[in-house]
Symmetry: D2
Subunit: 342 residues, 4 copies
């Protein structure tokens, strides 16, 4: 059985990544692609790397007949998303890749995104889409909110540790290194090759990055009390990949054992042997997340390093993993592609 | 039915690329991997990006039981290859990725590779592996010699034009731009990131590049008289991809029409609309080759630009395409992965 | 004696490069910097790499008191430039880095730039700023038009050969590889790191690149008859540097001897030993141009490779070299910085 | 007056960087260059980017007449260095760039470098070369030991804070991002462009990096009690530059004020306005170090980010700064070059 798929916002990187992955999916067929400003263009004009695929012409959203769609991926900017999703049929299965439905508390949304939420009912309905931790809710969900890519990298490192109570909750620090595709196709001077290549800098430092809203929500929920971590992202001269260096206080071997046990049966979360740390090169283009743990020379301190591809496991791959659950098919369908190296 | 595959030389980039692609192949199973100096290591130690795959431990070649192998990919250095292949069972299907069996004339081999060929009988048996032009021979072949990656890029641009007689044979010039993975995992100062990134230079300029042996052999054969082209490769600060800018004298529209017709039914060779030229970004990681044609402002001169991924269509993808033919399965099996962008 | 310098268009890359170079100049002092949309900002806000320098605040052009300026560099976009320069004092020494005064024939300007020239009197007055070939005119000039960066790279390879009559004039072909800073700080999708890095493509192929106007003008003048070359530029994933591979018909040794003799006393033009070809890495950030010559395997064909830094010898360094001549100081003043490697 | 300079180990990156910088130095002349395995080669063969400079031919060390040398830079590997320096005249001024004389305690040297020190008398004589904090000792010194590049980046961020007692000494953490030239010209697979570009990974994590020996020595000395920090370096796909993200507990404004005051008169250490964080792009190729401070959202925690060029301020620029002091000339001579951007 083939599931009919629509992708809204197909002219951005996560939209294109959805198309790339679905091209290898055994039971999904793309029946509609939207891109408002590029409506009526062929996808091959917008993304020539997809020219070998038979794909529908780009449309405006209101031209799509959603009665012929089984599941809709929504890869639009935040704020726009809540308006668009509000106008979609209320029985349409939706996997959203924006930030609009990640935070359950509308006050938190307004705090981090600087504007009131206009669709609080949808926000209440939405399931948080970190697959490995919300499987049953996602399977039963209608509207699933994909996580932030950095938020995913950090949570894979930390959730089992907080659940198991093996680390101090008041001294968690994530120093994160992110590739530039996470910034999307935005036209900004500092994203130009001439300015970005060959150097690095922090961004949203000092506790301003919006994915902190997700960390706060999730970690506090697990711990049953407020947990606030430190989080400093850096932009690196690479296109894909996130490396999160997470500093915790706890026994390193216990930290490792806790992660290894938690992810023993997870197809995409791979815990390396104790003392081995991962590289972003080893997951590029794939849905895998590698995690490594090492002890610091200072006793009682451990370092967890997690890597994933922000466009795949961090957004579009995660979205398909969630869609697989929602459609009742094998969770790994279409997602077992090996990474690309070099 | 699953075909049992061995890969000799699995610790290099083309070996790893074979594993990456076979991981998505519907009917191939890897039963043996060799790497002499890394024998007894797990593939995941040599290439951590493959750690999610169940793979045989690396062996020495003489430890492999070839009676349990249906087809063997040989990804060893030239010169070594002829010694190794000579010692393999004479009924074993082999796809070789080295240069050892590409040139039919042993004198040409000695001229370009600087040493006599030690297995001229095998050389005589070998089929030249440019799939789209040697399909029937490959299907019937036992030993197929994969082409040079640059040689493939140039031949896709030129073979139909020479066949059709639409260009002048004495003024063909290829200015080629190559990514660094084509140089393999060799430890050379000029391949270090610190030295290669951020700049470009020529290599093997002035008619010294060994792939000229293939161009001479193939173009002269098609034309029925000696054809010698100019060929200047450049090394670029990118990992994958070849862009061949081919300058010919002939009518540009006729050149375009000739290529478009020749490749109309080819699944992997895509001719862009007249006047549109391709980018290496649009084929990275895939088995596709894009070709574009434009006329110069000087009447009677045309420019053909062809792009392919040196590790995929230029070597390991081509090798699997040939293996598919030799095994009697669908030529495109395992090779329809979309490129990765960005 | 210190010469008072103004830079119009200081918020672009060539403007910033002028500031970088003048910071080491023994007898130039920057007294005014303009950037219309960024007026009233400190230069350190626009270019933090210049924060250690005491520099004037950015102004609008009409706020500058040109009576206090000895020489003005104009680093504005073409078309804008002719309007701005028309309004400047007619006795002010100006080195222009735009395309507006490079072509002596207004019809050629209109042909290549798509609009009529509005200041033909200034165009007639302007001296073409290829320093090594127009020294006396530049020394006596008031308005000097810097060359295109690609145009400089190609002319250094070809002018002495055309003058000496050692090559065929009807089969000259330049295949050029350019770094991305040549495109300036323009906000275009294909200049984003995510899209440019890791790949290459042609641009303005087929005889459409505007620097052909300069090649036509200069080569025809030297030859005393029309000379039209082929010219195909490629954009490379590197920030600085141009490598021009120039294919000519002529005796390679004679080609080399002709260049070596022509540039024997030039401080910035370095001809490598016969058979050695240059790399862009070896001139990055400097005012040097390296040239190499090799013979092709086909007798009677030679390849000249020239490399320079588009922002230095290709624009801002050349501009300072010209300014030095116009101010009567040592031509090399401030320009002997070694390249930066790695 | 011109000072006669020898450079031992001129075929590595720090050796070449010394030559690049000295080329612009007003009062240093290079009279001898050594490179044992490349003796008798011209420097231009080893580093073509230096071909415009008149330089002595490479020699073996024992061929150099040190009676004609005023100051010797030693850019050799550790362990080799102590042997070589032991054999040099005992009145020769030496600036060493290796690790051999950085640690005052021979036991610490053996602990971090894995072998006993063979020249403990020289180790005792050596002055630690962090210029801004050891000026008087350096001025009077004969043998000055350049610091580790990472060690410099971290100390600039932390020394004044420890001195002033404004931070907690038991929770200091440096997460460092380093460009690849810091690894030198070593031929290792993971330093190849094909493997390093496009990704990132940690190295020497968990408290194993040797520069911790310097941190321990210096911070404990300042504090008057043992101070052990956490330090995790990451290798980034860029050639030059270090960005050290230093996490401390203390009042962010006080941290900023302390650094601003400490470095108010330092020509090379630039403290940015509170809340502004630096980029490695803004110091590339220069002797400047930029420092920024921001407060975390968690009260009482501050983040200090320091950036410098590992080859310049982190090694060869620092070495020249020290040499200037030892020779009694202006400390900034030859070191005021602006960074290169883009």
């Amino acid at each position: 059985m083939t599931h009919r798929i629509a992708i809204l916002g197909a002219s951005g990187y996560t939209g294109a990544e959805l198309v790339r992955l679905i091209a290898s999916h055994p039971s999904m067929e793309i029946v509609a692609l939207s891109a408002d400003r590029k409506a009526d263009m062929a996808m091959a004009e917008v993304f020539p790397f997809l020219r070998h695929l038979p794909l529908p012409t780009l449309q405006k959203i209101d031209e799509i007949d959603f009665s012929q769609v089984d599941l809709c991926f929504c890869a639009l900017p935040h704020a726009t998303t809540q308006v668009v999703v509000s106008a979609l049929p209320r029985d349409l299965k939706i996997v959203d890749l924006s930030a609009d439905f990640r935070l359950r508390d509308v006050a938190e949304y307004e705090k981090w995104y600087g504007q009131p939420h206009t669709a609080p009912d949808l926000q209440a309905e939405a399931v948080y889409g970190l697959t490995e931790f919300y499987r049953e809710d996602i399977r039963a969900g209608r509207l699933v909110a994909g996580t932030g890519c950095n938020a995913a990298a950090g949570q894979f490192a930390l959730r089992p540790l907080i659940s198991a109570g093996v680390i101090d909750l008041d001294s968690i620090l994530i120093d994160l290194k992110a590739g530039v595709s996470g910034a999307g196709r935005s036209l900004k001077e500092n994203l130009l090759h001439a300015e970005l290549s060959g150097g690095t800098h922090t961004y949203s430092a000092g506790g301003k990055h919006r994915h902190l809203g997700e960390f706060d929500q999730e970690f506090s929920k697990i711990a049953g009390r407020p947990v606030h971590i430190q989080f400093t992202p850096h932009l690196l001269p690479m296109n894909r990949g996130i490396l999160a260096t997470t500093y915790v206080r706890g026994d390193a071997k216990e930290v490792h054992a806790t992660l290894a046990k938690a992810y023993a049966d997870e197809p995409f979360l791979q815990v390396l042997p104790f003392g081995t740390l991962p590289s972003t090169r080893d997951i590029a283009g794939s849905n895998y997340c590698h995690l490594g743990v090492i002890g610091d020379r200072i006793a009682g301190r451990a370092i967890v390093v997690s890597v994933l591809d922000n466009l795949t496991k961090g957004s579009s791959g995660q979205a398909i993993q969630n869609a697989n659950l929602m459609l009742g098919i094998d969770e790994t369908a279409g997602l077992l592609l090996a990474p690309m190296f070099p």
